[in-house]
């Protein structure tokens, strides 16, 4: 199942990874707009009451989604329907541990596999707690995608890479989503360090909002993740969100794809 991810990252050009929160607005239409705009990988946020690593934009999206009554079953229904419409576009779920392990890690891994989910990013399951979900995902061919951060030093990096699949998500700032952007120099240095330690593709996110920023990062990274800027469009435009998402995604995709 991770074939879709490796294919997306094996293209000669860098990949654009786009995030929206499941159940926030017309998610199917939003996801289609991201694909139409040129997103290479879709990151679908699972809403949670306590999104500790997220800034105001994605917190608000979580609240809107839960306020609209989104359930875990709805998230998987959105994923499965996306898979039926887009057989080759990789889809990863991003979220927090509790909704993922509530019915047991085996149940969650089964649901991911059945819905055609390629990978899972769980913010609050570090490698030290991998037993909580990692083995079950790997057994079902779903990639546990790990995060590396500015605080992940050389001594710790092997621990993070062990059991990591799909791609490595570099969180470019020590902080929460959608806030300040890291200095380009620090990103270049970090990506070089990560790439010398792993063959996994390295995607960079947190604080990336504009095509200019995305292009600069795409010069050195295998992928660029944009989340809060897209989620803000959903919050701002509601029913008209898809056209705005498509426009921003197209500008980002153009910048990322032609960066090198």
């Amino acid at each position: 199942m991770t074939d879709r991810l490796s294919t997306a990252f094996s293209a000669p050009r860098p990949a654009l990874v786009c995030f929206v929160t499941a159940g926030d607005g017309d998610t199917a239409a939003n996801l289609d707009a991201l694909v139409a705009g040129g997103a290479d990988v879709i990151e679908l946020g699972m809403p949670f009451t306590d999104p500790m690593a997220d800034g105001p934009a994605i917190q608000a999206a979580n609240i809107r989604s839960l306020g609209a009554g989104t359930t875990t079953a709805d998230v998987f229904a959105i994923a499965a329907a996306f898979r039926a419409r887009h057989p080759v576009v990789p889809l990863v779920l991003m979220g927090y541990a509790n909704p993922m392990v509530r019915r047991g890690p085996d149940w969650f891994a089964d649901q991911c596999a059945a819905a055609g989910v390629d990978g899972v990013i769980c913010v609050d399951i570090p490698p030290e707690e991998d037993d909580a979900l990692g083995p079950q995902l790997r057994a079902k061919g779903v990639a546990p995608i790990r995060l590396a951060t500015p605080t992940t030093d050389a001594a710790r990096l092997p621990r993070v890479l062990e059991g990591s699949e799909g791609f490595l998500y570099y969180v470019s700032v020590a902080g929460i989503t959608g806030q300040q952007q890291a200095a380009q120099g620090s990103i270049e240095e970090a990506v070089a360090r990560l790439k010398s330690a792993t063959d996994l593709p390295v995607a960079v996110g947190f604080g990336v909002r504009t095509p200019e920023q995305a292009e600069a990062i795409a010069k050195v990274a295998d992928g660029v993740v944009v989340g809060s800027a897209l989620v803000e469009l959903v919050g701002e435009h509601c029913g008209d969100a898809p056209q705005h998402l498509r426009a921003l995604t197209a500008a980002l995709a153009e910048a990322v794809h032609t960066a090198r």
């Binding site: 509790n98 993922m100 609050d124």
Partner: protein, 404 residues
């Protein structure tokens, strides 16, 4: 649990797990810091100078040891077992919270951290944190739910007097768990200079162990005082439980004394039948939140639900992971008390002993009321009076329909 462990006092394991509970469920950005904190804590534990400074501050600044008190008139009124109280409400700042804050700020200073953050619900932990920050001259930021700020004005003013900056949290529903989320967001963005003083025996390892250890002064003193005063250990320990730090502080030194039974008292709010309670152990399910695996109030999809209790210090939707383990191992019994029972016990203690308890230990007293009557007159119950009730008189007045 297949068999009884040889000791109940050796948890957690090296990964910070209490049986299936606890652990370090944090974002990668925090993980190196949490590991560093553990190393620093181990070094402090091995350093006699750290212990000496902690003990000195507890004696001369906090006012320890707190008295062990035989509640003679309450015992008479209940007509059963003797009721004794560990008087941690007499501590500086009026609750047990200060014990932990002293320990953590000494560790923060040892680690070279220059900025302190904390979360608070009712404001007791916020006041204790602001107090130690003033004492050591460190800047202090307290995250507090906007709704709690409205309800707890006297404590908000106390914290301000002590020089703390109060940040109102409006995300989520603006209560304690949202304040904790905001504290974690601050920490993740300021890992280089900031120490997060967590107020209860929960959070990522080593917090649950560390907070328990700092609070264990309660049980260590009580154990010695009991031996000195009556020549034996109590038959039953009783303490209220929100996150569970005062209970662990009392229980832990007695865990390997099989003759001592223990009762943890959760807040049943309007009753365990509905959603309006804060009893994570009796009315919740295992899950992962705020860095640890433990019992949580949550729905079938794992979304966290809000606790309710007349006591703002108990309405957190989780509980320290060691309690989750102590429950499953059977070593500690857990029960719950509704708002009205706590309110009645609050008044009973006022009138029989001249002690105005906080609403949190009023829950423990309500449980003592029930148990004492079922026990022999020579049996001994020791309850932790973990906070005084000055902060709660407005809440109580409102519930009793009195305007002040």
């Amino acid at each position: 649990m297949d068999s009884k462990p040889n000791s109940f006092r050796t948890q957690p394991d090296e990964r910070g797990h209490f049986g299936d509970y606890g652990g370090r469920y944090v974002a990668e950005t925090l993980m190196p810091l949490v590991l560093e904190l553990e190393r620093a804590y181990r070094a402090a534990q091995a350093d006699p100078a750290f212990k000496a400074q902690f003990d000195d501050l507890l004696e001369h600044y906090v006012g320890r040891p707190s008295p062990l008190y035989f509640a003679e008139r309450l015992t008479e009124a209940l007509g059963g077992a003797q009721v004794w109280f560990k008087r941690d409400e007499l501590n500086h700042t009026g609750a047990h919270k200060i014990n932990n804050c002293i320990g953590q700020i000494l560790l923060a200073i040892r680690m070279g951290k220059t900025r302190i953050i904390a979360e608070t619900g009712a404001g007791q932990h916020g006041v204790a944190t602001a107090t130690v920050c003033a004492r050591f001259g460190l800047p202090c930021v307290i995250y507090m739910g906007a709704e709690d700020i409205r309800r707890q004005q006297p404590n908000v003013f106390r914290m301000k007097l002590l020089g703390a900056e109060i940040v109102p949290v409006t995300s989520g529903r603006g209560t304690l768990k949202d304040a904790m989320n905001e504290g974690l967001r601050d920490w993740v963005a300021n890992v280089h200079d900031t120490f997060y003083i967590i107020g209860t025996a929960a959070g990522p390892h080593p917090y649950p162990e560390m907070v328990r250890d700092f609070q264990s002064v309660i049980g260590k003193e009580a154990r010695q005082q009991m031996q000195d005063r009556v020549g034996r250990l109590p038959d039953l320990l009783v303490a209220c439980i929100g996150g569970g730090s005062n209970a662990l502080g009392l229980f832990h030194p007695f865990l390997d004394d099989p003759e001592v039974k223990m009762l943890g008292v959760e807040a049943a709010g309007h009753g365990l039948d509905g959603d309006e309670h804060a009893a994570s152990l009796l009315g919740g399910f295992p899950g992962v939140l705020h860095g640890n695996k433990t019992y949580l109030l949550q729905d079938e999809d794992g979304q966290i639900t809000e606790g309710h209790s007349i006591s703002a210090g108990l309405d957190y939707p989780g509980i320290g992971p060691e309690h989750a383990w102590l429950k499953e191992s059977g070593r500690v019994e857990y029960t719950a008390v509704i708002d009205d029972e706590a309110l009645e016990a609050f008044q009973l203690l006022c009138r029989t002993e001249g002690i105005i308890p906080a609403l949190e230990p009023a829950h423990a007293i309500a449980a003592v009321q029930k148990r004492a009557k079922e026990m022999d007159r020579d049996a001994i119950i020791l309850a932790n009076l973990c906070g005084r009730g000055d902060k709660d008189i407005f809440t109580v007045a409102e519930k009793l329909g009195v305007e002040i």
